[in-house]
Amino acid sequence: MRHFIARLEPVIWALFGGGFFVGCLLMPAFILTVFIAAPLGWLPADALSYERAHALATNPIGRLVLLALIVLPFWNGANHLRHFVIDLRGIRSDGIVAPACYGAALVVTGIAVLAVGKL
């Protein structure tokens, strides 16, 4: 299994790097507005009302951004978690941890594509 995953490493690494970029460049603003300011009512009225939020999300660029914000950071987190577990426990659990991490990332990618498509 490690050998099979090793053959996919270039793709996984590219997704991992993309996740760093999207996570670092876009997530802070998203967290500040959607996850903190909006729930606390700190945004101007209607800034993230359902109508405006839905309009932003269904814009082609909006769909792409949302898809990127789900898929790339998750792949980054999955790959990083695998290496973090290796740091803590050595290579002995990698036969289970690696497929679990990347399997979860594949599932979330599929769900994200369907969810964004459903918007």
Partner: protein, 147 residues
């Protein structure tokens, strides 16, 4: 002395003529010295995983309808969600600092095809500006600065 390393770490494919003592990890690994910052960087993967799932929840609520959206925002007001998101914000900033400003510049090859790499000193201000610009742009869009 550090904790035991993998028993086969740095071992030759055929054993030498005498018995060797098994390898040990670096003494300060994992929680002391510079390794502490490295392990914190690794632990921030949790924020990448969970925050991306929260974005998925946002997409799902928007696809469901206005009631689901209002309910999601109501749930995000819970102190645990707010505490997580403040921690996540700190985690992403910490990761950005390490990735963008410590690792990225020197990870670029001297040449990609016909294009030479810019001087290393150019990277931090350019990446910093890009980071600020992207954050400000997304923030303004979501804040409602652009209709």
């Amino acid at each position: 002395m550090g904790r035991p390393a993998d028993p086969l770490a740095m071992s030759p494919s055929r054993p030498g003529r005498t018995r060797t003592a098994p390898p040990v990890m670096p003494a300060e690994f994992p929680a002391q010295g510079r390794y502490r910052s490295y392990m914190l960087f690794g632990a921030c993967c949790v924020f990448f995983l969970l925050s991306s799932l929260l974005v998925l929840r946002v997409v799902d609520a928007l696809a469901t309808g206005p009631d689901a959206w209002d309910e999601l925002l109501r749930q995000f007001r819970h102190p645990l969600y707010l505490a997580y998101n403040v921690a996540a914000l700190a985690g992403f900033v910490f990761t950005a600092r390490r990735f963008l400003f410590q690792l990225f510049a020197k990870s670029q090859p001297p040449r990609i095809g016909p294009f030479p790499r810019p001087p290393l000193a150019v990277f931090p201000p350019v990446l910093g500006a890009a980071w600020l610009a992207a954050t400000a742009l997304l923030f303004c869009i979501l804040w409602g600065a652009f209709p």
